[in-house]
Symmetry: C2
Subunit: 514 residues, 2 copies
């Protein structure tokens, strides 16, 4: 007879690249997000919570060639053949919402959303496939006042959660300035395509000119996005003749001439000692380009509008070296950088760096409705900002206080212990009764230790008969145990007997509560 | 030449059965959950946030016969062939966590988790495929003190969010009592299976006896779970000879004899005028069954422990008619019922009903480790509780206050308006500058109306020159517009001119802020 195999036990594991968050991690993040939400609320932004699941069609990640549209997203096929997926950011759902509810929502629509997003990517150290984003966007306003407002709100949000003024800078750049520079220099660079039938000389020239500009501009934008990685010299090489990277591989250059490449590098290094000087530098670079001039004027206006509210260059600076996302955004781009230094894993000092980024993207809902709708917004890197607050000792320093533990000396008197813990809780004191097997008292104290309890309450039959309880200051007790002589330890000043009626007051005293 | 089709635009729609939450809906839920979290924290419960994605193996929903294990869950196959799925509740992830981190977590482990869960079910009116749960559980304690604590905490949580004492009851029942009743009556009911080779008379009898009990008990448990639907008479029919339902279909009965069925009905209707009487009734029903006695004693102890903390029968009652989940739980079960009446969709008064349920389930992590770990907990129905608070006017009544809207009269003076809105925000007042096209002033007031703004600020060139602003009380304005005569309306007492420097004070006055 075939022996039936007993089924293998399931593994108790999170899927690869996912993790759980415990206790203080959850509480600290929630507290930080609640504080940011208060700022957003004050600015008139309304909360939005979209569903975690979207149609792949709405997300815009459907690749018709492949069997499953899961490049970068977690996707599956519904019963009626629709592909569904977990959202990979909070912007794509906003685009869908702005299109779906365009007749109901106020215009402009200010909204914020906080929540997890999912990426189907190879997980790595510190890189997870589920993480939090915290976004605020204004949809339906083309005004730079909307961009300026986002910058002010970002500054307020950072200060509210505990980043002091002086420890951060909101840097602003503008894609249009770079576009202007490229417009004024890229003229004769196209690889000429064959002339089409019936095309006049004029039409042909115009087509080559525009195609060339487009091709080169995209390549230039992709290249300068690597600025953080390869530095100014690397970008210079990549913009012109190409570059051999560390592995020895050769990466083709964009093919700009030296002069044009220097213009682009000049843009990225145009930051002066103040916003005025930066604006002057940019004006020189853009020559007579209309789009470039528009970009510089926008930057100037943003700075002016912010100054009117008291946000000066100690908080907001124009910085053309902010290039991340220039290829994605269509106007102003923002980045919040923390300027204080921390020690990296090798013990070297380095600037903490970016914790938020965003900008203007004017094609948000066009995919759905065909109509361009201007939008601008910011996304705060929740985990980065939490790490910064931890580095500055703003959170986690006091190692969130554990509960008072009411120990169980006498199994028959559970109701008495329950009454004690009830009294403490009613007084607003975090408290627990020990709920494990009470036989071994040592285990109860070990439990209190694991819970980081500040106080243990002990009442045996003897104490109960006399109407008293023992109140043990566990923090003081640990200090004495670590440092004291045997005599001092025996004196046990960390444990005091108080009348049962004085219990709450005694615990409050130890906790330093009024 | 073949004309290239322009690609179809994607539909801006949430997937079927999913929805978005806007503004006050999000804020109200978050506020309610934050208040509940405070109570849980005070009771020593720690927050936990598991990943939304679990392995299907860990969730325990894998059906080896079908191609895709998506019965009831949203599941997909990972690149390395693992099946992943969205969690369908918060208990399965807790079981996985309790097993995965059993060496690190304190024992007992008190945890709460709040968040969305996903069900791959046919959506219906008011039934969504993503919804919130709010759970609190104690893992690793077999003590009824843990059950009692859950009941007290549930009562506190309900009162904290705005359900008054007297408007709710936490009802407690115990699976063991029913087990005891069934033990004492189900003796000779097995459909006798063929005798196996080498089986002695004694072994055979024992096997039949135990199998029969198991089979009948499950059938009985499934039947009484239908109590809410079919009532006592329906249950009586289903426990005995069977029942014809409204559609005319005949449902086979469990086959209990009349006397046994009455015992079970007797259990479900054993609630007396007080907990004492209920306990007496139950003791009579269970005869000499050990397990039944244990169950009654547990109920008695829970009531005693709660009374010691001041939770009397006005808040906690033993109610054997609470049968939902008796088939799932292994000991005490809890249900929080709201006792006030609301009008249903047909205008009839009915009791609001259940908003939370839970109980003891002692096989939580056994699937993973082979070791039984006792656990007890509660799950609050977030949407039901929010609906209750709305029905009682606890939330949504004041229609969350919109922002003060600073209108734009003069496009060149954006910086001035920005300064005004900045001042208001710095004073803690929710405020916006109008960011749409300012050309049409009527649109700005329509926007303010849509935003439910209490106040609009207006400053034209004339007012600016005189150093004043117009402050328009929109709520008073709307009242006057609705009720006043033309003369009164012209007097426009809802709009007043104040010195620019007095702006914040004037707005505060209208908002009724100190």
């Amino acid at each position: 007879m075939a022996q039936e195999k007993s089924p293998r036990r399931p593994r108790a594991e999170t899927p690869k690249g996912f993790r759980d968050y415990f206790g203080a991690e959850v509480a600290e993040r929630n507290a930080m997000l609640a504080r940011i939400a208060e700022v957003y609320h004050r600015y008139g932004f309304d909360p939005l919570e979209t569903s975690a699941v979207e149609t792949v069609e709405a997300l815009g990640k459907f690749l018709p060639d492949v069997d499953r549209p899961n490049e970068g997203v977690f996707a599956w096929q519904d019963e009626d053949q629709d592909w569904l997926a977990l959202r990979y950011d909070l912007t794509a759902p906003l685009a869908r919402v702005a299109a779906q509810y365009r007749n109901e929502l106020p215009s402009p629509y200010r909204r914020y959303q906080m929540g997890p997003v999912w990426r189907n990517e190879k997980p790595g150290p510190g890189r997870f496939r589920q993480f939090y984003q915290c976004d605020a966007d204004t949809v339906g306003s083309a005004s730079v006042a909307a961009d300026a407002e986002i910058c002010a709100m970002l500054a307020d949000a950072l200060e509210t959660v505990g980043i002091s003024r002086g420890d951060y800078l909101v840097k602003v750049n503008n894609r249009k300035v770079l576009d202007g520079i490229l417009d004024s220099v890229i003229f004769e660079m196209g690889k000429e395509p064959p002339r089409e039938r019936n095309e006049t000389d004029f039409e042909y020239s115009k087509r080559i000119f525009n195609t060339a500009k487009l091709v080169e501009k995209d390549a230039v934008l992709r290249t300068i996005d690597k600025f953080d990685k390869v530095g100014p010299n690397g970008v210079r090489e990549l913009l012109t003749t190409g570059r051999r990277d560390q592995s020895g591989a050769f990466i083709d250059g964009v093919g700009l001439d030296q002069r044009t490449a220097e213009q682009v590098i000049g843009f990225m290094t145009a930051r002066g000692v103040g916003n005025e000087e930066t604006l002057t530098n940019l004006r020189m670079l853009i020559d007579y380009s209309d789009i470039g001039l528009e970009g510089v004027n926008e930057l100037e206006e943003i700075v002016r509008l912010l100054a009117a509210q008291g946000y000066g260059p100690d908080r907001i600076v124009i910085d053309p070296s902010v290039v991340r996302g220039l290829g994605y955004y269509t106007g102003p781009v923002f980045e919040a950088e923390l300027t204080f230094e921390i020690l990296d894993e090798k013990g070297r000092k380095r600037s903490f760096g970016s914790v938020a980024g965003g900008g203007r993207y004017d094609d948000l809902v066009k995919r759905f409705t065909g109509q361009a709708v201007p939008a601008t917004g910011i996304s705060i890197g929740v985990d980065r900002l939490l790490a910064a607050l931890r580095a500055k000792g703003r959170i986690g320093a006091e190692a969130s206080p554990g509960p008072v533990v009411v120990t169980v000396m006498d199994r028959d008197r559970m109701a008495d212990y329950m009454a004690i813990v009830g009294e403490l809780r009613a007084a607003g004191i975090r408290a627990e009764m020990y709920l494990g097997n009470p036989k071994n008292f040592g285990n109860q104290l070990k439990y209190a230790d694991k819970r980081q309890s500040p106080v243990a309450i002990i009442q045996g039959a003897d104490e109960a008969a006399r109407g008293v309880v023992q109140v043990k200051d566990l923090i003081l007790g640990a200090k004495i145990a670590a440092a004291a002589s045997v005599e001092e330890w025996k004196a046990q000043p960390a444990q005091t007997e108080v009348a049962r009626a004085d219990l709450v007051a005694a615990v409050r005293r130890i906790l330093g509560q009024p």
